[in-house]
Subunit: 472 residues, 2 copies
């Protein structure tokens, strides 16, 4: 979350190599942690200023996450004004809140004033309204207005994620004027890759990449080299949608505009990378019925995020159990069925979850849409048939040999084939239907797919057996 090529950061890292801090496996080195721990215990501010204060914000963030919870506040207070608040944009929410709550509002306000607005907003947005107001009140007028504007946009929009510092020039300036302006103005953003072109009302007219400025003669007018900004992002746009534009058009940064087409900020690729990571993580966790959970959550917090899915699953498990209950007489006569039935249901569940995973991912990356859905459905049905034949035969032979009964082998083979076809169709149709009906297929598909494969698995296997052996 800190800024692109943040100058201060980059200059100071010079003193530390990545390998001074991180071990081979990417975790913070144990000996570094030991030294820091000892320095905290000894209140050795000299060591901490030399070896910790100069870390890059993300390194300091990793360090905060790696040390013991009780050491965190001590480290922050020992560093005092040398503590780089930008590190808080790199840690779990629980850790961030804990530290922010213990810092005096004055110190926070001062630090936020020096930060780029997107980082400042990232820290401010989690605070309760009272603290927010108190901190905002301590900021200079311009900064306060800028941060308020970002905070006014809903969470997860481009407006909330944007940085309000940018370079903008009028179209009639020459390249020479523009360069002179940048050489003299002290108030430029820490780093930037394009210059925006605006009219006197701040309406966005175009943009020029810095390499274009550098390649052009001083006398050329900006409007002669500016490019169209068809990828300007409305401030209300969802961050995920904005991220897809960045990915599709390989943008480094994009203008954020309000309803009137006026430039209000700039969205940068580093924030977009964070969004991409977050969204991928969300989909990943949701597939297994885990909510918005962080590693720093408590036992009750983590339990709460997982109970809903377990509850829904316990309901569907009871339904499948009642399907088995329909055939209790058959099971009593042929216990082999009870032994084998979890294989039918389980293999169906696995095949279904394979198809479902492919489908959910394809929907998320927009690889699957109405144009190719019929083809993909046919393909999945084909895969289900093929894998059903393979594993139906295999398990049929195993079961037939195990119980020395060719009938049982044939019945389980047929049931496997039926269930794996059903699994394939459920695996693709359920996410597609959920998507159509506006639900998030990543969240709810798994429950339904497992329910279908369990119910069809038990019903086909026990039903076929009851019919074949004429159990009444």
């Amino acid at each position: 979350m800190s800024d692109i090529g943040d100058d201060r950061g980059s200059d100071e890292i010079a003193a530390f190599e990545h390998s001074d801090i991180y071990a081979e496996d990417g975790s913070v080195r144990s000996d570094f942690l030991m030294h820091v721990g000892a320095a905290i215990a000894d209140r050795d501010t000299i060591y901490l200023r030399q070896h910790v204060a100069g870390l890059h914000a993300s390194e300091l963030g990793d360090l905060l996450e790696a040390i013991q919870p009780e050491q965190r506040l001590a480290l922050v207070s020992l560093l005092g004004k040398e503590f780089d608040l930008a590190a808080l944009t790199e840690v779990d929410e629980a850790i961030r809140l804990d530290i922010v709550e213990h810092l005096p509002n004055e110190q926070i306000a001062e630090a936020l004033g020096e930060m780029d607005s997107d980082d400042a907003v990232y820290i401010l947005e989690d605070l309760d309204e009272e603290d927010q107001e108190e901190i905002l009140a301590k900021l200079p007028f311009t900064e306060r207005v800028r941060l308020r504007r970002s905070l006014d946009y809903p969470e997860s929009t481009a407006g909330r994620r944007m940085q309000t510092e940018f370079v903008a020039v009028p179209p009639f300036w020459t390249v020479g004027q523009t360069i002179d302006y940048m050489r003299e103005d002290e108030d430029l953003p820490d780093s930037f890759t394009q210059i925006f072109v605006i009219d006197p009302t701040f309406k966005l007219l175009g943009a020029v990449d810095l390499d274009r400025v550098l390649r052009t003669k001083r006398s050329v007018k900006i409007d002669a080299i500016m490019r169209d900004t068809s990828h300007a992002i409305p401030a209300e746009m969802d961050q995920e949608e904005a991220a897809q534009l960045f990915e599709q058009y390989d943008l480094l940064s994009a203008a954020v505009v309000d309803d009137n087409g006026r430039l209000v900020g700039v969205l940068t690729i580093d924030d977009v990378v964070d969004v991409i990571q977050e969204e991928a993580e969300e989909d990943f966790l949701r597939m297994s019925g885990v909510g918005d959970e962080e590693l720093s959550d408590t036992i009750t917090g983590a339990s709460r995020s997982r109970v809903p899915w377990l509850f829904v699953n316990s309901m569907t498990a009871c339904v499948s159990a009642s399907v088995i209950g329909l055939f209790d007489a058959t099971i009593q006569q042929i216990v082999a069925l009870a032994i084998l039935m979890p294989i039918v249901a389980g293999m169906g569940g696995n095949a279904g979850s394979q198809t479902m995973t492919v489908t959910v991912r394809a929907l998320a990356t927009r690889g699957l849409d109405i144009h190719n859905a019929p083809r993909i459905i046919r393909r999945e049905a084909g895969v289900g048939l093929l894998n059903g034949l393979i594993f139906g035969t295999f398990i049929g032979v195993v079961a037939g040999l195990w119980f020395q009964d060719v009938h049982i082998g044939g019945i389980i083979a047929a049931a496997m084939l039926i269930n794996m076809m059903a699994a394939a169709l459920a695996g693709i149709l359920i996410p597609l239907l959920l998507e159509r009906s506006g639900a998030d297929p990543a969240v709810s598909s798994a429950v339904f797919v497992t329910a279908v494969t369990d119910i069809i698995g038990f019903f086909s296997f026990l039903g076929l057996a009851t019919w074949w052996f004429h159990v009444t």
Copy 2:
């Protein structure tokens, strides 16, 4: 995969708004597809040149994926030299190979010569050696050497992904000289965000961001404003590791250096975003036992990528079934056990896969390491105990009422508690142990976790029942 702010692309998109091509849901608009389809059928090259040739490479890629397979080659051949080969970096591998195989090698060579080297390599690397050589032979000497060098680095390394076009200047140049050089040199990369500083042997000395160049007076020497390049990336570094450096330090581009510290190329954030997406996708698919599968794969291709996991699962399913077999006498006496046992195993499986998903994700993002592992293991055990108590009680009551038997209710409650604790421990310890032993926890965890929860679920439930009811 096409380039950052690719000028040609950006200029031409001006003619098309994103919404002319894409519907609300992000798929290619049906009416656009219809028009294109009709134009292909009518061999209407005028329409295609006007409405398709000018599309951004990624838009053309989406179009190629959306039209019918048989229309693809027709579209490419109708576009002729107007077909932008960069679109091939945006489509599934199967589609890319199909199109490349049907294009004359001359046309490919010519198009590759105009492309940035990273895109050219992306297209070349999938071809068989013979075609590669034939195409390379048709390229000018410098380009050929550059592409060969990239292709010599192993797949998935920074060297393979890098772009070999970059701007490099000596440290004793002034800002003014550097700007003049950029104004005059015709051979600059399409776009760039930093200038590298090298000695006469190409050894990397530092880098300067373009905004820094623009802010600095003409008389200042480059070595006075260059920053240290401690994040230079060895060409042999795995692309995933490189992506982590980009994320951590919010890089836009980074120098790629050979063993002697000589600058050989530059890795850019757009390629890194692709890497991040690919890696997230890989982890996502692997969790469900789906291999490197693409939507365009055939039935047998998709089946092949899923059979291995299904096979391993059929083995573990047989093991769990044999655990049930140990208790066949008990089941014959109390059929309720057969009806209820899938609930115990299934709920354990779900709880285990929740913990496992959190663990695998935390390992992939390096949020979980030796420093916090003990704490997270304790937390997961706590969550398992808590959720085990909640759902043990719940299912115990349901089962007790269902079969009007308080003993069965008590037995299933105890078995659920045992299995959900086991699930929590398996869900965290199995991925951790796999990671320690060098295996990819995303691939193999699920099999083992499900096996553990099935076996412990069946054994605890049926075992407790056998003991309690004194079945012999």
